[in-house]
């Protein structure tokens, strides 16, 4: 069942009249209190036989979600991964496949 979305007035005193022109944010660090937690639809999985540990996936990740583990291979922290698929596209060796999370 769909959640009932409250009307704008009941949310608080902040209405559309209070937003700045162009929805510009004037305060800093507004994203800080938000917790990650929603998992992406597709997550990258590494095939360790094909991976040569070059680190291109790590370099091209816009969310800084890919971390280097102790054995030199790379892993994604799924809290921050958004499932964009850039690592899958940029891997020269085809070692990364986008899979549904088990």
């Amino acid at each position: 069942m769909a959640k009932k979305i409250p009307a704008a007035k009941t949310r608080g005193k902040h209405t559309w009249k209070d937003t700045k022109v162009g929805c510009v944010l004037l305060e800093e660090g507004k994203a800080k209190p938000f917790e990650p937690g929603e998992k992406p639809l597709l997550v990258p999985l590494w095939d360790k036989e094909m991976c040569v540990r070059c680190g291109l996936c790590y370099l091209f990740c816009p969310d800084a979600a890919i971390k280097r583990s102790d054995d030199g291979y790379y892993e994604a922290t799924l809290d921050y991964c958004k499932g964009c698929g850039i690592c899958h596209q940029e891997c020269w060796f085809g070692a990364i496949s986008m899979m549904e999370e088990a």
Binding site: E28, G29, P36, R53, Y58, P62, D63, A64, I86, Q89
Partner: protein, 242 residues
């Protein structure tokens, strides 16, 4: 496999100054990728920015020396700017250009005007970069920090939402933009530009345009006009003129 253990990305500092919990960009965002690579280039200088957690806000109004340049381009073009203060109180301005603010999508005119306007208005170091070429971008940020006086960096950052393509092609589209010479990578040090990446075989512009759905309304005649403009701009750059 051990002889492949050392690759160039591993020469970069592994410490992450760009923290993922503090940004709300869409998936596959080119600006987030560009900012992350910029933070990697700044290293020790990024220490005070690290505490900021991406809290360095994008400055919307442009500085005085660039305002005249924007009027030539048009009032409505106001891209995101990141302003970093150097040791000698000069500034490094980094413009993340996702081409979203233009009234009409005209790919060639906009990019020609901005770095040229900055170079004409007394910026000591002006360069263009793209996150698809990370080492080139990192080099340019470092050179911009080292040079005396104000410096300006124009970074093309593809936007999957605005340009209408699948989010996994962000890096590839940036590479196509450079290879088709629609966004040539160059730096201006003493008045004359120098191409940092000069491909021996230039792609036709058509390949870059057909990758994105925002240019679906372009007809063949318009594409040919853009191709001619891009070609003349690129040969000028190769000769060392802006």
């Amino acid at each position: 496999m051990d002889k492949f253990a050392l690759y160039v990305p591993q020469l970069l500092p592994f410490k992450e100054h760009f923290l993922p919990e503090a940004h709300r960009a869409c998936m596959g965002c080119g600006i987030a990728l560009g900012v992350r690579q910029t933070y990697k280039a700044l290293e020790e200088k990024a220490e005070w920015m690290e505490g900021a957690h991406w809290e360095v806000p994008f400055k919307q109004p442009l500085p005085g020396s660039l305002i005249k340049g924007t009027k030539e381009v048009g009032e409505e073009t106001r891209p995101a700017l990141l302003q970093i203060e150097k040791d000698d109180q000069a500034h490094l301005l980094i413009c993340f250009d996702n081409e979203a603010v233009t009234a009409k999508p005209t790919p060639a005119v906009f990019k020609k005007a901005f770095p040229a306007a900055a170079a004409a208005r007394g910026f000591h170091y002006v360069a263009t970069a793209c996150p698809s070429y990370p080492f080139d971008l990192i080099d340019k940020v470092r050179r911009g920090m080292e040079s005396e006086g104000n410096s300006y960096l124009h970074i093309l950052s593809p936007c999957p939402v605005g340009w209408d393509f699948e989010s996994e092609f962000t890096v590839q589209i940036g590479r196509f933009a450079v290879e088709s010479a629609i966004f040539p990578l160059y730096e201006v040090v003493t008045g004359s530009p120098r191409l940092t990446i000069d491909h021996p075989r230039i792609r036709p512009v058509e390949q870059y345009i057909h990758l994105q759905n925002r240019f679906n309304h372009f007809k063949k005649k318009e594409i040919l006009a853009i191709q001619a403009e891009v070609d003349s701009h690129y040969t000028k750059l190769q000769e060392g003129k802006l």
